[in-house]
């Protein structure tokens, strides 16, 4: 009897002690961590091209262009009290370009040939690592002498239980195109003929006409208050990636694009069969549908196959195919060299015709060879270096170097050399 009582008392005390523990705070496992710099990316690129079909001079003439592109991106990572990961990215891009054909915006060839573009960006993403979802917002700005752009986006992602991931993004760019016309096509300014003073005029090196009173006061100038025209672009981007097995993964992506506004460039000339000339005229709306598929496969222990195919169509009559293959060979787990080859072909837009081939009855017309039928090839080699302790034991964790040579059947060709540095 005593044993039974002791046993019952013991069980009762055990029962009581199971409720003696304090309730665990569900968030006690998470401590917020402030944003800290996680990664800095620097991308430098030098591009040089030449050809014979400049749209500035109506589809003939030099297409010499050089571009030095510099991009810096800083990423901060942190965690909030709920355990969500926050990523903040600030980017800044500065490009300097020179274009030989830009000199001929003026009929005399006296226009500026070089320019700069500056483009900052910001992006914030919040990720719930436990359930594999992300949500974020982004903002962009771009300024160059003849073009200004403000953009924004909203993006989200979700992982599936069997190694898949959905991504979606909607974005809008609200741009302004400054209507800088070829000098000979600038409408003459209206001069106030009621003024009693004698009016004189002169033409500047860039082709502007300036009207002066006898006292030297500028009455009118063809470059005053160059108007701008809007161009808006809306994009819905969707993609899905899936792990197939231990060596292969695939993805499919599309960007549904709708553009509206001034979609040409105001300094592109078009010459007609009767030798007259006008500025190119393109429709004020464009819908684009590209769909791309990637498949990557790790063959053996050292070879990777990176493949890509894209089908493209739009309502300007262009249909295009793109296919590329890159074969990284891993000399060590941290160093690989990748030869690559890209093939591209497109049909012509009905709005395109070569120099002097447009009929004066055409409603839309351009001699920009980007809208002609052609095939192009791009080939080169890249390297990827990422030792575990950084290059020479520094914060430089990854270095990519990449060179490519590009040719089009329109006789345009170019070379590009790029460096990408990642610091951690």
């Amino acid at each position: 009897m005593k044993k039974i009582c002791l046993s019952v008392i013991g069980l009762y005390l055990t029962f009581l002690s199971s409720f003696a523990q304090t309730e665990t705070d569900s968030t006690s496992g998470y401590k917020s961590k402030p944003l800290k710099v996680d990664e800095i990316n620097l991308v430098e690129s030098y591009y040089k091209q030449d050809g014979n079909h400049s749209p500035v001079t109506g589809g003939i003439g030099t297409e010499k262009v050089t571009d030095l592109s510099n991009g810096l991106e800083v990423k901060w990572l942190g965690y909030d009290a709920s355990g969500n990961k926050h990523e903040l990215m600030l980017g800044m891009g500065i490009d300097h370009h020179s274009s030989a054909s830009s000199a001929f915006v003026s009929k005399t060839g006296a226009s500026k040939t070089d320019g700069n573009r500056i483009y900052p960006s910001i992006s914030w993403t919040k990720e719930n690592e436990a359930i594999g979802t992300q949500f974020g917002l982004g903002g962009y700005y771009s300024y160059e002498y003849n073009y200004q752009s403000i953009g924004m986006d909203m993006h989200m992602a979700a992982k599936t239980k069997n190694g898949g991931e959905f991504n979606a993004k909607v974005s809008g760019f609200f741009d302004k195109v400054k209507l800088i016309l070829p000098s000979e096509l600038i409408p003459a300014p209206v001069v106030n003929t009621n003024t009693p003073a004698t009016v004189t005029s002169y033409t500047t090196a860039s082709g502007r006409t300036v009207y002066l009173s006898s006292g030297g006061t500028v009455i009118a100038s063809s470059s005053n208050a160059i108007p701008s025209s809007p161009r808006n672009t809306f994009t819905a981007s969707l993609s899905f990636a899936q792990i197939i097995n231990k060596r292969m993964k695939v993805s499919i992506a599309t960007d549904l694009v709708a553009q509206h506004g001034y979609l040409g460039l105001p300094f592109h000339r078009v010459y007609f069969t009767d030798a007259s000339e006008k500025v190119e005229n393109l429709p004020d709306n464009r819908m684009k549908v590209p769909i791309g598929i990637r498949l990557n496969y790790f063959l053996g222990d050292n070879l990777i196959i990176r493949s890509y195919y894209r089908f493209y169509t739009d309502n300007w009559g262009i249909t295009a195919h793109t296919a590329s293959l890159e074969i990284p060979y891993k000399f060590t787990p941290f160093f690989s060299m990748s030869p690559f080859f890209r093939w591209y072909t497109q049909t012509a837009s009905p709005y395109f015709a070569a120099y002097g081939k447009h009929s004066t009855s055409d409603k839309y017309f351009t001699s920009n060879y980007s809208y002609s039928a052609f095939t192009s090839y791009f080939m080169g080699v890249g390297s990827h270096i990422a030792p575990p302790k950084g290059i020479f034991n520094t914060h430089l964790s990854t270095l990519e170097i990449r060179y490519g040579h590009y040719t089009q059947s329109t006789d345009l060709y170019s070379n590009v050399l790029s460096f990408a540095f990642t610091f951690k």
Partner: protein, 73 residues
Amino acid sequence: MKSQPCFFLLAILFVASASSCIQVKEYQKNKLNDADMALSSRKAEKNELNFQSYREGASGANGGKTGGGCGCN
């Protein structure tokens, strides 16, 4: 359009591949997690994608420009 059968064939191939996927545990992902296996263009490709979108009629579906944002079409 002649190009449509080609595209649909590839889309079917993609769906067939995706539906035949197997569960891969985290410790088995050493090859999948290799930097050269990433399903995106490389950082050093950024300006290549830009000039291709400027000089060609097609753009998009590759992580690059789709339109807008600069004085190019």
